[in-house]
């Protein structure tokens, strides 16, 4: 795993800390636990002192919560009934159509 922040710092010409604009690009790696321990520490250090990024991370988590609730809503009762009927027919007929 390449050290993302190290590369960013190099580009910025020194370890000047993580900017908000850089942080938002690392949020998925952070949530996926894909940052190196050093990068994670830098990320946490920035978050601790930055209200905007704290809010950004919070929005992301809230969005994920909403996405997790989509499943049941996105399959209509009609679609579910059709699917169940289709599988009953299929089992009754002894197998899938050729």
């Amino acid at each position: 795993m390449p050290d993302l922040l190290t590369r960013l710092f190099r580009r910025r010409g020194g370890d000047a800390g993580l900017s908000c604009q850089e942080l938002v690009e690392l949020v998925t790696d952070y949530l996926e636990d894909a940052l190196s321990p050093a990068d994670r520490a830098r990320f946490d250090a920035h978050i601790a002192g930055c209200e905007g990024c704290t809010m950004y991370l919070r929005q992301m988590r809230e969005m994920l919560e909403l996405l997790g609730e989509l499943t049941t809503d996105s399959i209509s009762p009609q679609a579910e009934a059709d699917l169940l009927a289709a599988f009953r027919d299929w089992k009754g007929a002894g197998g899938p159509p050729a």
């Binding site: 938002v24 998925t28 996926e32 909403l66 609730e69 499943t71 699917l83 599988f87």
Partner: protein
């Protein structure tokens, strides 16, 4: 039966990537469930049931896709969709060159106040769904499988046959776009 109801829609979407018509995808999903039922006693819990079901699905869909002369190479689609510059947040939202460059100029704000959870309104859900529908194919699949259906990154990688890095980049782009759309929604609401 619960599993059939829960997994079949996303299995249809995956199968549809390999085969030319929805009808063929439907066949593939049904064949997969049959193979699962027949093979259940051979299933050893070395992998999760879901990983096993999706690997059967992908193998069958791929074979069928080759026979029907349409096989979309996920790897090249993934390459396409992870290529080029990407900004999770509009660069205008940050301070430009000079002191404080890259800091928030227009920081994100709270979407709703406690204790009400206005977030879960039907309109917000509609907005999320329409944004997901607009995503490029691989990004749509990855966010649907991971965040809507709750599959693990391992399961998604093996089902789509893409690298861990590609999976994460696709997920990042998809999530960033959906968050931005929700932010727009709350700004207008």
């Amino acid at each position: 039966m619960d599993l059939v109801v829960r997994w079949s829609p996303v299995m249809m979407r995956v199968a549809r990537m390999y085969v030319p018509t929805a009808a063929v995808a439907d066949d593939v999903v049904q064949e997969t469930w049959l193979a699962v039922l027949q093979g259940l006693d051979r299933f050893e819990e070395r992998s999760s049931l879901r990983t096993w079901v999706f690997s059967i699905l992908v193998n069958r869909a791929r074979t069928r896709g080759e026979r029907e002369r349409r096989s979309v190479p996920f790897a090249s689609l993934a390459r396409e969709e992870t290529d080029g510059d990407f900004a999770a947040v509009d660069p205008e939202r940050f301070v430009g060159a000079g002191t404080g460059a890259g800091a928030w100029a227009a920081p994100p704000v709270r979407w709703w106040e406690e204790p009400e959870r206005a977030l879960a309104s039907d309109e917000a859900v509609d907005r999320i769904e329409s944004e997901i529908a607009k995503l490029p194919e691989m990004q749509r699949l990855v966010i649907t499988m991971r965040d809507v259906e709750g599959l693990s990154s391992e399961e998604v990688r093996s089902a789509l046959d893409i690298s861990e890095t590609n999976q994460r980049v696709l997920l990042h782009r998809a999530r960033s776009k959906v968050r931005a759309a929700l932010e727009d929604y709350y700004a207008d609401a």
